[in-house]
Amino acid sequence: MASPIIRIDNIVKRYGPLTVLDGLSIKVMPGEKLALIGPSGSGKTTILRILMTLETISGGHIEVDGEQLYHMRKGADLISADERHLHRMRKKIGMVFQHFNLFPHKCVLDNITLAPMLTQGAGRADAEKRAMELLDMVGMADKAKAVPAQLSGGQKQRVAIARALALSPKIMLFDEVTSALDPELVEEVLNVMRRLAAETDMTMLLVTHEMGFAHDFADRVLFFDRGKIVEEGRPEEIFRNPKQERTQGFLRKIIAAGHRV
């Protein structure tokens, strides 16, 4: 049996006196599609941010692709990772944000080619060729020369997905990628992700409030509340037959709010 590509081991995250994650452990297998659901403030986004090294951890260990994320070996000791170690580890991981975070001063094509050219030493011609392939995949090839301000939210998010993919990460993190979109634009982004899931064997972690999508997309669903995993299992189990009362209550509220399951 293959070993996990992500091994989160007993991590703790505190903001001052507030403990957001308290001794959380998760294992993710290579190629697995994981959906993290739960109420706001339950810590699910924090996990993605920690994996992307946008936050630090207050305790515990994380292993990504066989290596410590926040620690490195020095002789027999495990010490805090330095910037170089983090730089190496970030190559394995890509992230798509709720608010896209495209670079407004660069056209779509340059948004995508910037990182491969700067961090992977790609030549402009190669980087642009690859960028056009990715734009084609997300259905945005005709907007290559547009700037972000000219795009709709759904288009921006598709570009942001292409931008993250350009670095060929092994793991992709999607942080509420449709939450900032008008309802009629959600589907175009979800379609891109479905295609991505079908065509690649990337490991994907998805924080979402789109329960229907989580149901179809994920191999496994984790329900979070107050920094802990309350319930986990296959989407059918979690959505059709939740065992925990808190999961049932959360799903009821979501359905009442008009999200389809």
Binding site: H105, V147, Q150, L167
Partner: protein, 219 residues
């Protein structure tokens, strides 16, 4: 009339000195603004402390005193500067301190989300600043830099006090020699205005150029 043309030449020579001071002072101010402004955002405490000390000191003391200090006190430490060097140094350091806060404010205004996108794309700290943050921060700095440059231009008048023959100094010479106040001082009033107007026109042009593409089409 020929007498007045001689005096006009004198004043125009003064204008050239003022222009030199403004250009060189602005260049130094710009360098200092970026050094101290980015220094205040450094990860390292010592760098932040140094930048903050510089900014607070030069904003908190008078340009007049700074100039006298540079010109009359530094020689005691064995550093003797020409009036022009002293003027450029005092003006550049003084205005640079104000500019530093402009740089810091503009960089911070670009926002965390852009930095986070850079981290997710694995750009180094330098690459983030160079390719993502500063290109967006520069257009935000320009209007205030324009103010600072005009302030610096007008501030150059204090160098007449250390016998540098700038516009104001020459006007006083003409006044002393002719006994006429109206003509020399009206002339330099006009010349200062023309120079300030040239600065703001140039800055507006630069601003238009830099913001192009931020919200329009790029070809």
């Amino acid at each position: 009339m020929s007498v007045w043309s001689g005096y006009l030449t004198l004043i125009l020579e003064g204008a050239l000195v003022t222009l030199k001071l403004t250009v060189m002072g602005s260049a130094l101010a710009l360098v200092m603004a970026f050094l101290a402004g980015l220094g205040r955002l450094s990860r390292f405490f010592a760098v932040r402390a140094l930048a903050t000390t510089y900014i607070e000191f030069f904003r908190g003391t008078s340009i007049f005193v700074q100039l006298f200090w540079v010109y009359f006190v530094l020689p005691f430490a064995g550093i003797t500067l020409t009036p022009l060097q002293a003027g450029v140094l005092a003006l550049g350091l003084n205005v640079g301190a104000y500019g530093a806060e402009v740089v810091r404010g503009a960089v911070k205004a670009v926002g965390r989300q852009q930095t986070e996108a850079c981290v997710a794309l694995n750009l180094s700290r330098y690459q983030r600043m160079r390719h993502v943050i500063l290109p967006q921060a520069l257009p935000l700095m320009l209007p205030t830099f324009c103010n600072n440059a005009i302030e610096l231009l007008k501030g150059t008048a204090v160098v007449s006090l250390i016998s540098l023959t700038d516009l104001t100094f020459q006007a006083q010479v003409v006044r002393a020699q002719t006994g006429n106040t109206l003509i020399p001082f009206t002339t330099i009033l006009f010349l200062y205005f023309v120079m300030a107007w040239a600065i703001s026109t140039a800055m507006r042009w630069l601003e238009r150029r830099m913001t192009r593409g931020l919200d329009g089409v790029r070809t």
